[in-house]
C-alpha cells in the first residue's frame, strides 16, 4: 500500500497542476450578496483555447486568456462590465423572478429602483457612403426604425413554438428618429472594418443611440458595444445593405441581389440583434459551449449559433434551441422574440445606477 502512495501523490500533483488556472474576474468582492461566479469577460472555454499535441502542456494546463483590444486600451472596462453585471443581477433579484440571473444572498445592498414606464430612445444615424447607392434614403432608414419599434414592442408570440410562448416579452422600448438627426458623409473609404475607425472619423452624438451605416467588410454584417464601454465608441455599426427592411421599403439598397445571402439579412434584424447587445444582451448560446451561459434563465443552453431557418426542434445541450430569438444567428425572417429574462436584463440598465439610466432621466 505504501508503495502506491508515492506514485499516487505524483499523479495527484499532476492533476492539480493541470487544473484550469482561470483568472476569474471578481473585483470588488467585498459585498457578496449576488452570485457572480459565472460572470466572464475573458474565456477559459476549451473551444477558444489553442491546442497542439506538440504543446501538450499549454494544451491541457494553461487557460488561453485573450484580451481584446478594447480591454487593452481601457483597463477600467473590466471593472465596469463587472459592476454593470452585478447591478443587473441585483435588479433582477429584487424583482423576485427567476427569468434572469440574480440570486439574492443574505443582507447586502439596496436594490436598484426600477423604471416601469415606456422607454424612449432617440436615435442618431450617420450614413457614410463611397458611392451614391450606399447613400440610403430616409425611407430606408425609417424602415429600420420601424423594425426596431416592432421588435421591441412585440406582443404576438403565436409565431414561435408553443414551448417558448410563455416567455415572450414586450420590451416596451420605442426608438425615435428626427430627420435632422440623419448625418450624411461622402467618404472614399470603401471598407471600415471593426476597429471603430468610422466612429473616430464621425464621432457619436451624446444622448442618442448612434448608428453608423457604412460598408464594414470582412464578412461582418454589424457590430455593437456593450454598456460600460468608452462613450466615444458607444453605438451600433451596421453594414449599409443590412440596414432597413426590404418588406417595408422595397425600393431601398440591399446589396447585390445575386449575393448568396441577399434574402437572409435584408429585413432589419441585424440592427435588432446589435441593439440587443447595446442593451446588454449576450448571444443566446453564451459564446461558448453548453456550459457557457448568456446570463438569462429562460433561454435554453446551446453550444453554438444557429444559421438559416432551422426546422423546429433543433436540439442541443439536451433542450430545444430557441432559434427564433433575436440574439441567435438565424435569418432575419426567422427571428421573432426576446424573452422575459432578456427583457429584465435590458431594463436593468435603465434602473437607478444603470449604465443607460440617463435615457429615462
Amino acid at each position: 500500500m505504501r508503495k502506491l502512495i508515492f506514485p499516487l501523490a505524483i499523479f495527484a500533483l499532476i492533476v492539480v497542476a493541470c487544473q484550469d488556472n482561470s483568472e476569474e474576474i471578481t473585483p470588488n468582492q467585498e459585498v457578496a450578496t449576488i452570485d457572480m461566479s459565472d460572470f466572464y469577460v475573458y474565456t477559459n472555454d476549451s473551444d477558444i483555447a489553442s491546442k497542439s499535441s506538440a504543446d501538450a502542456k499549454n494544451d491541457k494546463c494553461a487557460s488561453m486568456k485573450v484580451l481584446n483590444q478594447q480591454l487593452k486600451d481601457n483597463p477600467g472596462l473590466e471593472n465596469r462590465m463587472y459592476a454593470i453585471e452585478k447591478h443587473t443581477r441585483e435588479y433582477i433579484a429584487a424583482k423576485g423572478n427567476s427569468t434572469g440571473k440574480g440570486k439574492p444572498g443574505g443582507g447586502g445592498t439596496t436594490p436598484p429602483a426600477t423604471y416601469d414606464g415606456t422607454i424612449t430612445i432617440p436615435v442618431y444615424v450617420h450614413v457614410i457612403y463611397s458611392n451614391s447607392s450606399q447613400n440610403i434614403s430616409d425611407a430606408q432608414i425609417n424602415s429600420q426604425i420601424a423594425v426596431l419599434n416592432n421588435d421591441f414592442n412585440d406582443t404576438n408570440y403565436n409565431d414561435v413554438p408553443t414551448e417558448f410562448r410563455a416567455v415572450g416579452a414586450d420590451v416596451d422600448i420605442n426608438f425615435t428618429l428626427n430627420s435632422a438627426n440623419i448625418a450624411r458623409h461622402s467618404d472614399t473609404t470603401t471598407s471600415w472594418g471593426t476597429n471603430n475607425a468610422v466612429k473616430s472619423e464621425y464621432p457619436p452624438v451624446a444622448g442618442y443611440l448612434n448608428f453608423w451605416v457604412c460598408e464594414i467588410g470582412g464578412g461582418i454584417l454589424g457590430y455593437a458595444q456593450f454598456p460600460g464601454g468608452n462613450a466615444s465608441t458607444d453605438g451600433v455599426v451596421v453594414g449599409t445593405e443590412f440596414f432597413g427592411s426590404i418588406i417595408l421599403n422595397p425600393s431601398g439598397y440591399y446589396g447585390d441581389p445575386k449575393s448568396p445571402y441577399y434574402d437572409s439579412y435584408n429585413k432589419g434584424r441585424t440592427a435588432t440583434h446589435e441593439v440587443g447587445h447595446w442593451l446588454n444582451l449576450r448571444h443566446i448560446w453564451g459564446d461558448g459551449r453548453c456550459k457557457q451561459d448568456d446570463f438569462v434563465a429562460d433561454t435554453p443552453s446551446s453550444d453554438g449559433p444557429n444559421y438559416g431557418c432551422p426546422t423546429y426542434p433543433t436540439v442541443n445541450c439536451n433542450s430545444n434551441d430557441m432559434t427564433q430569438n433575436y440574439m441567435d444567428y438565424t435569418d432575419d425572417a426567422c427571428m421573432n422574440m426576446f424573452t422575459l429574462g432578456q427583457n429584465d436584463r435590458m431594463k436593468a440598465i435603465f434602473a437607478s445606477g444603470g449604465a443607460r439610466e440617463s435615457f429615462v432621466q
Binding site: I10, Y42, S53, A54, V66, N68, G218, Y223
Partner: protein, 135 residues
C-alpha cells in the same frame, strides 16, 4: 525500483492522455470561419483541396510541386509558438469572426481559434497560397 517504474508508467499514461488526436494522413487541414452572413471553409487532404468562399466552392487536385510548396510552407511555421488570437469579447459583439483551424501534420495535431480577419501572417500566407492554386 518498482516505485520508479510505477511512477514512469503513470507519467507516460497521463502524458499520452494530453496528446492530441493522431492521423495517419500526412497533411489534413480543416479551416472554418463562419458568422451571420458569411462562411469560409478550406479543406486540404494531401493533394485534394476545396475552398468554399461564401458559397463559391472550388476544388482541385494539387500537383506534386504544389504539394511540395504547401509542405515547405507548413514546415516553416513554428506551431509550438502559434497562439489562438480570437477575443471572446469581440465575438460577443459580432466584431470578429472565429476561424477554427485544425491541422494534422505528420502525426501531430494542431488546433487554434483565430480571428479570421487577423490571421497570423504565416497562416494568412498559407491561405492565400492555397487560394491561388484554385485560380
Amino acid at each position: 525500483m518498482k516505485l520508479i517504474i510505477q511512477t514512469i508508467i503513470i507519467l507516460l499514461t497521463f502524458s499520452n492522455s494530453c496528446e492530441g488526436q493522431e492521423n495517419k494522413e500526412e497533411i489534413t487541414l480543416n479551416y472554418t470561419a463562419q458568422t451571420r452572413g458569411y462562411i469560409y471553409t478550406l479543406q486540404l487532404k494531401n493533394k485534394e483541396l476545396e475552398i468554399n468562399n461564401n458559397q463559391v466552392i472550388k476544388n482541385i487536385a494539387l500537383t506534386e510541386d504544389q504539394q511540395n510548396e504547401v509542405s515547405k510552407m507548413l514546415s516553416e511555421i513554428d506551431f509550438k509558438k502559434m497562439k489562438s488570437n480570437i477575443s471572446t469579447n469581440d465575438l460577443a459583439v459580432d466584431s470578429a469572426i472565429k476561424g477554427a483551424f485544425e491541422l494534422n501534420y505528420y502525426n501531430k495535431f494542431y488546433s487554434y481559434s483565430f480571428d479570421h480577419n487577423k490571421l497570423p501572417n504565416k497562416i494568412e500566407e498559407l491561405k492565400l497560397k492555397l487560394e491561388t492554386f484554385l485560380n
